[in-house]
Amino acid sequence: MGIELQNINKQFGEYKAIDNLSLNIASGELIALLGPSGCGKTTLLRIIAGLELADSGKILLENKDTTNLPPRKKNVGFVFQHYALFRRLTVFENVAFGLKVLPFRERPSRSEIRDRVAHLLKLVQMDWALTRYPSQLSGGQRQRVALARALAVNPRVLLLDEPFSALDAKVRQELRRWLRKLHDEIHVTSIFVTHDQEEALELADKIVVINKGRIEQQGTPQEVYDHPANAFVYNFLGNVNVFHGRIHNGKVSLGAHQLDAPDDLKNVEEKPSQTFVRPHEIGISRIRSNDKDLEGTIREVRLQGGQIGLNIECQGLDNPIEAEVPRELFVNLQLAKGVQVFVTINRVRVFTGDYEI
């Protein structure tokens, strides 16, 4: 097992940052800790690194109890949100730092250090910048140097704290693809923290969704996205339409309309329910295709890259529906503001209970 967390608790004053959290991560995996800001994900990462001490609980790295080890003995690589490169040292000296501070007996020779740094900088495609200072590099370049620096000490695990959040959208895209590729090459057990669900879905082998210091769900991106365990996860993983209503005898009320309840809720007699529909799981047509279609009028049209966002006011629903249609369809159907359409709901998720968003 790469990383084992057992019953971690951490409290800041009145505020419970980590609430009895346990987690196992296999060796060589790339894990995303996903959650809204303030959910405790960064605190958890810092606890693993030893930069914060947990109030209680155990941390095992590669089957070794490291709970009470100081950070410098944990042998983890940590990549900071704002890079934290040593601003008065060159790129070379930054990457070599972890090797140069080793006790004399363990320290590699000068030429070994030079070779290792050169190798790492090549790996992160920064070998041209040996003598540069951090201030002479762009954000993306700095973060790659920071990664090389963290890898230099052969860490047991690599921890990345929102590594891309300080970068522009385009560099962020590029860098996360590159990180995925890099991880496939070096296979070091890695955890990265993010609040960006797209990033987590694209990059991770496994996603751990965290809220209020607890794990809401963990699984592969596919599992988590397709089978969200609860309303929070569903809501957090993408844009969504929410309808509050009741579930009654196998039917879910959706405003004035009724839908078939999913199989697992067929036997629920009477409960408040929440129905979730993703915007892209809504079909739009100009003619009624079946009697369950909702009738509505387009109130707003928004350009969203390749997709078109529609805001549709439906008869019998209190709130308008957000839908997304491919541009092609939008053109073919000659959709526009004020046009009458029929709305087919292709897929719903229903949760019972009083979950609040």
């Binding site: 004053g13 914060e52 001490l53 950070p71």
Partner: protein
């Protein structure tokens, strides 16, 4: 709770060493010596204390120190605002030079400043001989003290206003301009309120410094009892007579007033910041 805090802060090394050293040093150099003023005053008893600090000569010295420091700080408010404004907003020959020289009163030993002003304003000095025919006497008068204190307090005001003026967003002024405000209206209604906290800080610092100032004042003041004898000089002369208790009593009052002023300033600043945020 306490345990958790102790655990948490020990992640970076060196807390014990740096904190221990800091506390030790502060105690040895500041806390213990300053507390000596209290320890030397308390055994006096209330009445001798009151007598010592309300003796007419002492009262006169407090009044003099506060009034001269006040007028000097007031003058510095205008001179400092003017200088900061000119240095930040305009380009003119000698600007860098003036900017650097603003700090001269910080860097120049106060005794040197003192003998300079005393000589300048003496009846045969460069400025003194110009003023003598007008029957204006500077030396050995409170005006002389004020002049020395203006010099001492000046950089405090400039250096607290300057950064605020520099960082002020141009958009604010442009917005006021677009809304039809004249330059003068923009200055009094927008800029001045914005600068006010910094101005107040600078003026208070200049005032506090002025109350305690010694070196630059004694040469020009003449030190005439009841007329131009400042409070720090009262402490000095009591010390010369080995009246330690009397000296500490005078010092205690001076200290308490200075502290109260700085505390008030802190409170005002915090209040201002809160207002600003909300």
């Amino acid at each position: 709770m306490a345990l958790f805090q102790i655990k948490r802060r020990n992640i970076l090394p060196g807390f014990g060493l740096s904190m221990g050293y800091t506390v030790f040093y502060l105690s040895a150099i500041v806390i213990v010596p300053v507390s000596m003023i209290f320890f030397n005053t308390f055994p006096m008893g209330w009445e001798p204390f009151v007598n010592a600090v309300t003796a007419p000569r002492v009262i006169a010295s407090y009044k003099l120190s506060f009034s001269t420091a006040f007028f000097a700080a007031l003058f510095d408010a205008f001179a400092g605002l003017l200088t900061a404004w000119v240095l930040v907003r305009y380009r003119f020959p000698g600007k860098q030079f003036l900017d650097a020289l603003v700090d001269l009163p910080f860097a120049l030993p106060t005794a040197v400043a003192g003998i300079c002003f005393a000589t300048l304003y003496s009846p045969i000095g460069w400025l003194g001989q110009l003023l003598a025919p007008l029957n204006l006497h500077i030396i050995n008068t409170p005006t002389g003290i004020i002049i020395a204190l203006i010099f001492i307090g000046f950089p405090f005001v400039v250096r607290t206003i300057q950064p605020v003026l520099e960082e002020m967003e141009q958009e604010i002024e442009e917005a006021a301009h677009c809304l039809g405000a004249t330059r003068w209206q923009t200055f009094t209604k927008i800029l001045l309120p914005h600068l006010f906290p910094a101005l107040l800080t600078g003026v208070t610092l200049a005032f506090a410094r002025g109350i305690g100032e010694y070196g630059s004042v004694i040469f020009i003041a003449g030190n005439l009892p009841m007329k131009t004898e400042i409070a720090p000089l009262m402490i000095m002369s009591k010390l010369d007579q080995f009246d330690y208790a009397g000296a500490s009593a005078v010092a205690l009052v001076l200290l308490l007033i200075s502290f109260t002023m700085l505390l008030l300033l802190n409170a005002v600043q915090e209040w201002q910041q809160k207002e600003y945020r909300s």
